[in-house]
Symmetry: C2
Subunit: 333 residues, 2 copies
DNA sequence: ACCCGGGGTGTTATCGTCAACACACCGAGT
DNA sequence: ACTCGGTGTGTTGACGATAACACCCCGGGT
């Protein structure tokens, strides 16, 4: 049973292939009766458009590349899911390519170029890789969580403000100052969260201890606990490292939140069942993905929407503090 | 700067487009000097093959569809990453489509059909959806973690054996019997893990309490703790539910592992930092993905490899018990 | 009667690649 | 000399969709 082409449908409906094309693409210049006949034929034969042929002719694939460094972080995998949903709603498909630290970003873009994707969304914490991306190709690009820059469309959570809120919350809870377990040095999100933390300390006139640096993984959080032995409040740059802190502090015999309060970032689904349940900053991944996809498709289909559709070059979405027991000393323990 | 085609390269190298095609596809019938000239021209012009055109001509896209119900479970997102890596190593790309419970699997396959993928890997815990898949299309298919069946190539972890090992471990630790916090009723993996648990109890002649059923999420695990108030050992069908159990038991004042031992399944990266660190059964997602991709490409490129390459219809990979504190009463607490 | 405009439809050419075939050349066997 | 097999290369014609253009028909204005 070979593929059904427009010509087959056309023959069945007694029209030309061009008319079938017009029906498929919703052209208004088709007689309603003809349209109905063609639609019946499409159903009868089980017609499906051949995207490869369409892509060859039009130069557009209705496909978006997603460049991702890793899916091991919960944030990235949730973003992927949200991006898929947003793209499917617009009849676009997502091609995932990985750009690891050692492979670099170039082979990833090379693959996307081969595939003639209409654009790419970069989900990559390493700012320097993004700068390489500027070098690579003339492909429409939306970068998530990267330093805003000229010629670069970015979408991001307001990491700094979320971090500020988390830190202020800890200070309000009675801590003299707040220590910080930061993310990797090359991550934009980590830098922003650190910036927000510093700002909150500065506002309150609190002492600033240099942050300890982790790698997003929970194990690095557990290791950091030892270095934070004298802290009474710690803001961790993500939930997984915060979990590690909970573990590390428990091993040291320090009770959370009574001896030390802990706050994370992301609000992963499991955070509510950590011991104790984790106070954290919630990112709205669905909204972030939705905006990224919308912006990218604007760019890709842009009929010169450089001014109208894409008013601002950087889009920033609010984050929300979620208070749970890990920062609530009075938690009926 | 428009796209560089084979014709452009051909003109630059003073040969025909067909010769360029032969060079690109590594045909042996090309003079080494000619080949070198063409390769130089490709580099000079920055030639990249146009996959859409290639797909139109050959009917093959070097693209694999990945049908996934959700990426919220750690297992699925790790599988996705591993599948990407395995596919990229073979110069295939991955297109992700989601098949939620309410949308059903049909629109997902519809999208893949449009995209003319060479085959699909189904990562879907709901067995019934997979049966629908049989209805859908003549596309080469590899199903991960599904009931082996005729005309169906499957790849799976040995869930039953892993569960058996986990249960036996708990019994060996001194428990009179082991309760089970099972996964959703429609999940093949959940059913297999339950089967392994039952088998281990039967071998030991232990009392069987009907399992409590969760939804893979940690919250359902926390809720289940209340129903398991008298258990001294619980085998949870995944790590996230086990985390919920740890939380629930803590709220009930039951100490893990002293009052009740807990074992999970998957070995998520964070399990080592749960409180206490979680004994669990490790799945080798990389190997699973590698096998799934290899089998699928065999099928897709199969020149009739029905007998040779695909000897067995179902492939089963071993799981490994990882013992940590949540099941080790003597853990120097 | 004539032209005009526009709705509805068909024809042609083309996107980039590759399979099939054609062909020119050369050295070896008869 | 004459076929023959093999090697290196060019030519032609699809694959399926669609942009551009051509065309027919019909009602309304002159």
């Amino acid at each position: 049973m070979p593929r059904v082409s427009m010509a087959d449908v056309a023959a069945h409906a007694g029209v030309s292939a061009q008319t079938v094309s017009r029906v498929v693409n919703g052209s208004p210049r088709v007689d309603p009766q003809t349209r109905a006949r063609v639609e019946d034929a499409m159903v009868a034969l089980g017609y499906r458009i051949h995207r490869a042929a369409q892509a060859l002719r039009t130069g557009r694939t209705r496909t978006i590349g997603l460049v991702v460094s890793t899916l091991a972080t919960v944030g990235n995998s949730r973003m992927l899911q949200a991006v898929c949903a947003a793209a499917e709603a617009r009849d676009y498909a997502i091609v995932v390519v990985t750009a690891t630290a050692d492979s670099g970003i170039r082979p990833a873009f090379s693959r996307l170029h081969d595939r003639a994707v209409d654009g790419a969304i970069v989900l990559n914490e390493a700012t320097r890789l993004v700068q390489l991306a500027g070098t690579t190709g003339d492909m429409p690009l939306v970068v998530v969580d990267a330093e805003p820059a000229a010629h670069l469309v970015t979408v991001q959570t307001d990491h700094a403000d979320g971090a500020r809120a988390a830190t202020a919350h800890l200070l309000a809870g009675g801590a003299a100052t707040v220590h910080h377990l930061a993310g990797p040095a090359d991550s934009f999100a980590a830098a922003e969260r650190e910036r927000g933390w510093r700002a909150a300390l500065a506002e309150a006139g609190a002492v600033v201890h240099e942050p300890v640096r982790g790698d997003w993984g929970s194990t690095s959080g557990a290791a950091a606990a030892v270095l934070l032995g004298d802290a009474t409040a710690v803001f961790a740059a993500n939930d997984q490292m915060a979990l590690g802190l909970l573990h590390g502090f428990a091993d040291l015999g320090r009770r959370v939140p009574d001896d030390v309060a802990v706050v994370g970032f992301d609000d992963v689904p499991e955070a509510v069942d950590y011991l104790p349940p984790l106070t954290t900053v919630r990112q709205d991944f669905d909204a972030l993905a939705e905006r990224a996809v919308a912006r990218l498709i604007d760019l890709a289909e842009g009929t010169g929407a450089r001014d109208a559709a894409s008013g601002s070059v950087a889009e920033v979405l609010a984050a929300e503090l979620v208070v749970r027991d890990s920062s609530r000393p009075a938690a009926g323990g």
